[in-house]
Amino acid sequence: MKKLLNWIEPIPNPSLKNGREQHSTLSKSRFIVRLPSFSREGLRMGSIKAFSIIETITAMALLTITFGIAISTFDMVMNTDNIPMTVNANLTLKQIAAETKKEKTFYDETIERNGFIIQKTVQPYEKTKYNLSRNLGNKDLIHLQLTAQIPEQEKIITTLNILLLNHE
């Protein structure tokens, strides 16, 4: 506003001698408006205020960050459902593994829990790659595999593999 006022100035009246009178007669005066000039002369004199390159880059960076945050927040909101689903599925599998170990339910079964279908597979652990079965005599070792999937969907959300002792 101050800048705008600088562009507007009254036409000087020779009859007025002091500033007070000048101010009081301002509304009655005629005005001339000096618009910013882009002439070569104006530029050279530095009368136009503009942005430096640093300011421009800073502004662009701020805009980019803000935009990025907005996009990723949007993305996060859109994907919010997947995170608890994987975590829930893992927790459910962990719980079933603990129950299997405690109750010694070492057999295959399908369990529905917490909105997931859990496929439980139990088999003797027979590792032959390093000839461990011979060395370890691990006949009491059981391989428990648990997979979680959503009903009516083929996709497996998560899998848990663990070895348990039969005599525990």
């Binding site: 990025g68 945050i69 990723s72 927040t73 993305d75 996060m76 994907n79 995170i83 994987t86 975590v87 893992n90 962990k94 652990y125 590792k127 790659k129 390093y130 461990l132 060395n135 370890l136 005599g137 691990n138 006949k139 009491d140 070792l141 391989h143 595999q145 998560t158 848990l160 593999n161 663990i162 070895l163 348990l164 002792l165």
Partner: protein, 390 residues
């Protein structure tokens, strides 16, 4: 971007859970193994994403299992590891208060002797007797079921003893570490071996996978802190008031001083590879000393029994665990657990009584329920967790 960070964090947590599960699986493999396992890295479920490094080795008369589970990413590594000391469940003969070899003589019981628990006795059984004019003061000679013992005591599992015997007979390795005031060695690393002619321990702090070997003597003062340490020497002297957890193996003599407290699971054992007629007694457990674990004497040369008892457990000395000897023992203190021996002897100022026990207590019921044995007997399964190690 925040969502990406959250996803990365979630993935990390899931991998961490997976690595922890693999650590449990590796521990299960090590635990079920009844043999040692050379250090090796395996892919548990053929997924190329579940790697564990496992190892199981003898540590004195126990076994140590180590498991390292890990997942390596380009700029990160998730790793967990565990080391466990394994012992064995007691065999039938060890679940009795007494196993006395059948040497065609009855066990003579005199004075205020108490035997609580099942007993394996010679065909001749047990009888009341007098020592220094004191007859058996109890009502029952023993409180438990009687079974007949064999002409030999339960056989030794020689496997863990072989390297110790080799050290004692052939000498010790020369490449060894320096005996600093403080020594700590993880069970995931190689053994730290300290060797010298005489090892004098005073104000030392030694913990972990450390073996102390001396050509002649190891002396342990009460100002030391020793934990999980194996000691091998011809002579071992543990001074009055020491407290710690050790496995001590000597070929000639061990003295466990007064008020010494060897914490579970400790071992003090004489391994005789030659006759030592100049040493009247190979192990003396002094008054008020306590051993939580095994105290034993074993003569590897099959000779006739020496007349003098090799192991002397003095008055008010206590062994909570097991006493094992294929020679005679002089039992004046008390044993809360099992005594397996070839014979007893009582010596008074006036006379000597063979196959007698006098004023002593053998009480199997006072053995701690969670006590696990070192694997010193044949055909023992070593897969019971005793303690977690560093």
């Amino acid at each position: 971007m925040l969502s990406d960070l959250e996803q990365i964090q979630l993935q990390e947590n899931l991998w961490e859970q997976r690595v922890l599960n693999n650590l449990k699986s590796g521990t299960a493999i090590v635990q079920t193994s009844n043999t040692t396992i050379e250090k090796q890295t395996i892919d548990l479920f053929n997924t190329e994403m579940d790697s564990v490094t496992i190892e199981k080795y003898w540590w004195g008369l126990f076994q140590v299992g180590t498991v390292d589970a890990f997942k390596t990413f380009p700029n990160q590594r998730i790793a967990y590891r565990k080391a466990i000391l394994y012992g064995s469940e007691l065999k039938t003969e060890q679940k009795a208060a007494l196993y006395l070899k059948d040497n065609n003589q009855p066990l003579a019981i005199a004075g205020k002797t108490v035997i609580k628990g099942d007993v394996f006795l010679p065909r001749a059984g047990a009888k009341r007797a007098y020592v220094n004019g004191q007859g058996f003061s109890g009502t029952e000679l023993f409180e438990g079921k009687k079974q007949q013992s064999k002409r030999y005591i339960p056989k030794l599992n020689e496997t863990p003893f072989l390297p110790i015997i080799e050290y004692l007979v052939k000498g010790f390795p020369k490449n060894n570490a320096q005996l600093n005031d403080t020594l700590r060695q993880s069970f995931h690393e190689n053994s730290m071996i300290i060797h010298d002619n005489i090892i004098y321990l005073d104000k030392h702090y030694i913990k972990g996978k450390v073996i102390l070997m001396a050509d002649s003597l190891v002396y342990i003062s009460p100002n030391c802190y020793l934990e999980n340490v194996v000691i091998i020497a011809p002579y071992i002297l543990i001074d009055k008031g020491f407290k710690g957890q050790i496995q001590a193996f000597a070929s000639k003599f061990i003295r466990i001083g007064e008020e010494v407290n060897l914490i579970y699971p400790s071992i003090a054992m004489i391994l005789k590879t030659e006759l030592t007629p100049t040493i009247p007694q190979n192990m003396i457990i002094e008054k008020n000393a306590t051993i939580h674990g095994l105290a034993g004497v074993y003569q590897f040369n099959k000779t006739d029994l020496p007349p003098i008892p090799s192991l002397n457990i003095k008055e008010n000395a206590t062994v909570i665990g097991q006493v094992y000897s294929n020679e005679k023992i002089y039992l004046q203190g008390q044993v809360f657990g099992n005594v397996t021996c070839a014979g007893f002897r009582v010596q008074t100022a006036a006379s000597i009584y063979d196959n007698h026990i006098f004023n002593t207590t053998i009480d199997y019921s006072k053995r701690p329920n969670d006590y696990l044995s070192p694997a010193f007997l044949e055909k023992t399964v070593i897969n019971e967790e005793i303690i977690k190690l560093d």
